[in-house]
């Protein structure tokens, strides 16, 4: 009963109203905003327990995140400190699948990994800038992040 109640549709999170796109530029702009909102929500998780970054994800990206959150929980590790977008480049828009592909460069230098007892266990080899290829697909009226993959592209 209680478990089911948790699954009944509650008030839907207010999506940013996004008109259907008439141009590639519009699609790029909307997709970029979704990615920026996602990173902002990820950063706000530390101070706001109701933040739900997974609402920006779907498909493969969501699966990855669920597995990753589960692992993090079982290890007791925490990630603290903000991650910044140092560069974001829209690369292509496929009208058929309504998918935008872009390159995001994430500056993780201010982000630390802490173990359960509060020790900083951040890897010394961690690069400060990580290049990620991001795919976003338009689902009904908003873009969702459907894939994030490691990229070889250089970040400025």
């Amino acid at each position: 009963m209680i478990g089911l109640a948790g699954c009944t549709p509650g008030p839907a999170p207010k999506p940013t109203p996004t008109p259907l796109f008439t141009s590639e530029a519009d699609a790029f702009k909307a997709a970029e905003q979704v990615f920026r909102d996602y990173i902002e929500t990820v950063n706000s998780e530390e101070s706001d327990s109701t933040a739900d970054p997974q609402r920006f994800l779907a498909g493969k990206a969501l699966d990855e995140d669920v597995a990753s959150v589960r692992d993090l929980k079982s290890s007791g590790h925490r990630i603290v400190g903000a991650t910044a977008i140092s560069d974001y480049r829209s690369k292509s828009y496929t009208p058929g699948s309504k998918t935008v592909t872009s390159l995001a460069c994430l500056d993780v230098s201010a982000t630390r990994i802490m173990d359960a007892s509060g020790n900083d266990i951040t890897s010394k080899n961690r690069p400060s800038i990580v290049a990620v290829e991001v795919s976003l697909t338009l689902m009904s009226t908003e873009f969702k992040i459907v894939g994030m993959n490691a990229s070889d592209e250089p970040c400025s």
């Binding site: 699954c7 609402r55 990620v132 994030m148």
Partner: protein, 288 residues
């Protein structure tokens, strides 16, 4: 309040039971990873575990066996040498590369062979005898079907995946008194989704399970319906033809369309769906 909530739970349970039959693969376990990219979650990116295969040390998909959310030595991922270049030998011609590639030809490969209207060009290498695309038309494959997943039911607002069964077929025949073998290769799949929208695809589409993707992931052939109802999805496959008179494959100029294959799709509105993991873990999953 209590009654209302009981009512809703019953509805939810019934829907979940219905959903169970066609969403079962979703709970069956993690899909197999078939792509050669390295997916990363935001936690992996922030922990420094998001690398391309070349970088070597990525945890990649192997991390599910580890309890250590940040550990970094058990990974490696698959070293798949997908670089087709390499070596100091002479580069193969595009035609050779295309001929050696299994499966339906890519758009580029198709551009190498003449595609257009059926015109009466004689097949090369067959002196005194020629066949045109219209000669082979009566042999065009007609058994292809189309299906939608999950189970020919779609949910409003979520991608429904479609696949055609058409593939390369080799058919024996007799043309102008001469026994020969005809090979039909699909080069285009024209999907009409029944709601006025169409899409051309160079691939027949792949089942979510087969391509290692989660259900409701958009694919090259998927479609999102905006309204509930019953729709007829039709796929028309365009083939190129080659004939073999016993001396090797000879391409025939032109293309042929097979008979359209159709399938009825029921599009429903879902307020609840059974998905992998709990609603606490995936609050944004359908139905949570």
């Amino acid at each position: 309040m209590f009654l209302k909530s009981v009512g809703r739970s019953v509805v939810t349970a019934v829907l979940a039971a219905v959903a169970l039959t066609w969403l079962a693969p979703c709970v069956a376990g993690e899909p197999l990873e078939t792509q050669d990219t390295t997916p990363c979650s935001i936690a992996q990116i922030r922990s420094g575990e998001c690398h391309t295969a070349e970088a070597g040390v990525g945890l990649g998909d192997t991390e599910t066996t580890s309890n250590d959310g940040t550990g970094g030595s058990d990974g490696g991922g698959s070293e798949d040498a997908s670089d087709p270049g390499g070596g100091g030998t002479a580069e193969p011609t595009p035609q050779e590369v295309c001929a050696a590639t299994p499966g339906p030809p890519s758009a580029f490969c198709r551009s190498l062979r003449p595609v257009g209207v059926a015109i009466g060009q004689p097949a090369p290498g067959a002196p005194g005898w020629s066949a045109t695309i219209s000669d082979v038309a009566r042999f065009v494959p007609s058994t292809a079907t189309v299906s939608g997943e999950p189970e020919n039911i779609a949910v409003v607002g979520l991608p429904a995946n479609f696949l055609s069964s058409a593939k390369t077929e080799t058919i024996p025949g007799t043309i102008l008194g001469r026994a020969l073998t005809i090979r039909f290769t699909p080069v285009n799949y024209a999907f009409e989704y029944g709601d006025g929208e169409k899409r051309d695809s160079s691939t027949p589409g792949a089942a979510w399970d087969a391509s290692g993707q989660a259900q409701f992931t958009p694919t090259d052939t998927s479609h999102v319906y905006k309204e509930p109802g019953t729709y007829t999805v039709t796929v028309t496959v365009t083939y190129t033809a080659d004939i073999d008179l016993g001396t090797g494959w000879i391409p025939i100029n032109g293309t042929l369309n097979g008979p359209p294959a159709s399938q009825q799709i029921r599009v429903v509105k879902a307020h609840t769906a059974l998905v992998q993991n709990t609603c606490t873990e995936r609050p944004s999953a359908p139905g949570c």
